[in-house]
Symmetry: C2
Subunit: 266 residues, 2 copies
């Protein structure tokens, strides 16, 4: 699929083998749904990127150029996934960021995953570490997710739920978690680990949701569960370990509400 | 400086922009002292690489080829630093490792850092997260070290000591820590975070050292402290925050012992 690579404001042929993204995962990324030549949540993606860049002290590429290149890559696509990686750039040997560095950014297009009615989920043994300095942002240190995802593949499941070391549920490997509670929804707090997803953020603003600390038992006994992310929208959970859930009217309502606001996420 | 890039057994011109090292820090690295055309601790470096590869399920390049390329790169160098990065290779979008992947490996030569008599050290506010699944190995998820190192630079210090969330001291940003205790030495346990250094390992086998849990107060009141790594050998600590230490005969003895065994680390 199409890939464009840049150093600062200039398009380049390849990634420098001394790039800090490769050396240390010293970068950020966004994975975005493409719909009819555009990205429904582009503003939210770029805002999260900005938050991450501030946290890590990474300089972002020029905003207008970034938007123009994203628009150019998506222009002819009806349905696809666009991925943007921004690293701190090239930086010699050693952890200290160079005093002046131009970001490296890689923009790539991928096929959208097939739509599914619901997903089967397992509990992962891999935990997400407590690290408030990195929590919430979408940085490129993702070995925990890679290890957890290996468990999901081994279990022939669609996704896996991951807890922190204290046993509190954080999220799926690449999606946020919502569980039904009374008339509303609960979703785990992400101040110590996890990624604050764009679809999660939309739901926090458009549905009755409370952020909380959530243990495994509370998830397992909930009357409805779904996962969500900015590529696949809202994904009802059909099975979690031994328990199965019937299709939920409340989840369907949220899916409809999301589809009305963003037809690309229907 | 010289850089060689490989995919599996083949030398290639560049790093694939879809490499999982760049996307997720899904790789391992070794930073090695070059001395008179060879690497004093090559065997130990390759053993740690092997341990990391087993932990992460990464396939390593052919051992004979790897050794031959390392030897070729170092052949004419009297003093230098060789860095090896091995990633899981290219792997599309998504955390799941591809079922079959060839490792990407990048071998580069760098100037050795200038020798110093002793180092000035500060306490970092950045913490290392508890993550037993990643502790000890030298993987490429190093944002914590990057953040800690930014503090060291801001403080105009040579190095910084980093604690875990419980306040126990783990290591410096790119070196292990040893503190004097009675007739021997203490060094932090690294079963929950940190990198098990090659020089640290040598000291565990050749000096009177006990691995333990170490808090800040114990470090601050110790009669002698040093840092160590495989590039710079043993580095006496002269200052830590407000306290200064005179040159220590016990540290000098260890430096001599190391220099006798490995003249490259003198």
């Amino acid at each position: 699929m199409e890939t464009r690579i840049f150093r600062g404001e200039h398009r380049v042929d390849g990634v420098d083998p001394g790039d800090r993204g490769l050396a240390y995962g010293d970068g950020l990324f966004e994975t975005m749904r493409v719909h009819r030549g555009g990205i429904p949540w582009l503003g939210a993606h770029l805002q999260r990127l900005q938050r991450g860049a501030q946290r890590l002290g990474i300089i972002l590429p020029d905003d207008a150029l970034l938007r123009a290149e994203i628009a150019a890559v998506c222009a002819d696509r009806d349905v696809a996934v666009a991925k943007l990686i921004v690293t701190r750039g090239t930086g010699g040997r050693g952890y200290a960021p160079p005093p002046h560095s131009e970001p490296t950014w890689v923009l790539s297009l991928h096929e959208a995953p097939a739509a599914v009615q619901a997903v089967d989920v397992v509990w992962c043994d891999t935990t997400f570490a407590d690290q408030p300095a990195l929590a919430g942002i979408k940085h490129c240190n993702r070995l925990e997710q890679v290890l957890a995802r290996r468990e999901v593949v081994a279990a022939h499941a669609d996704e896996g739920l991951v807890c922190d070391v204290a046993g509190n549920v954080i999220s799926a490997t690449s999606a946020n978690l919502f569980v039904r509670d009374g008339d509303g929804w609960l979703t785990p707090k992400l101040d110590r680990s996890g990624v604050a997803g764009i679809c999660r953020d939309w739901l926090l603003h458009h549905a009755q949701v409370r952020e909380t600390v959530l243990n495994r038992a509370a998830v397992q006994r909930s009357s409805a569960i779904f996962l969500c992310n900015a590529v696949r929208g809202i994904l009802p959970v059909r099975r979690l370990d031994a328990r199965e859930w019937p299709a939920s009217a409340e989840v369907r309502d949220l899916q409809r509400q999301l589809a009305d606001a963003h037809p690309g996420l229907a």
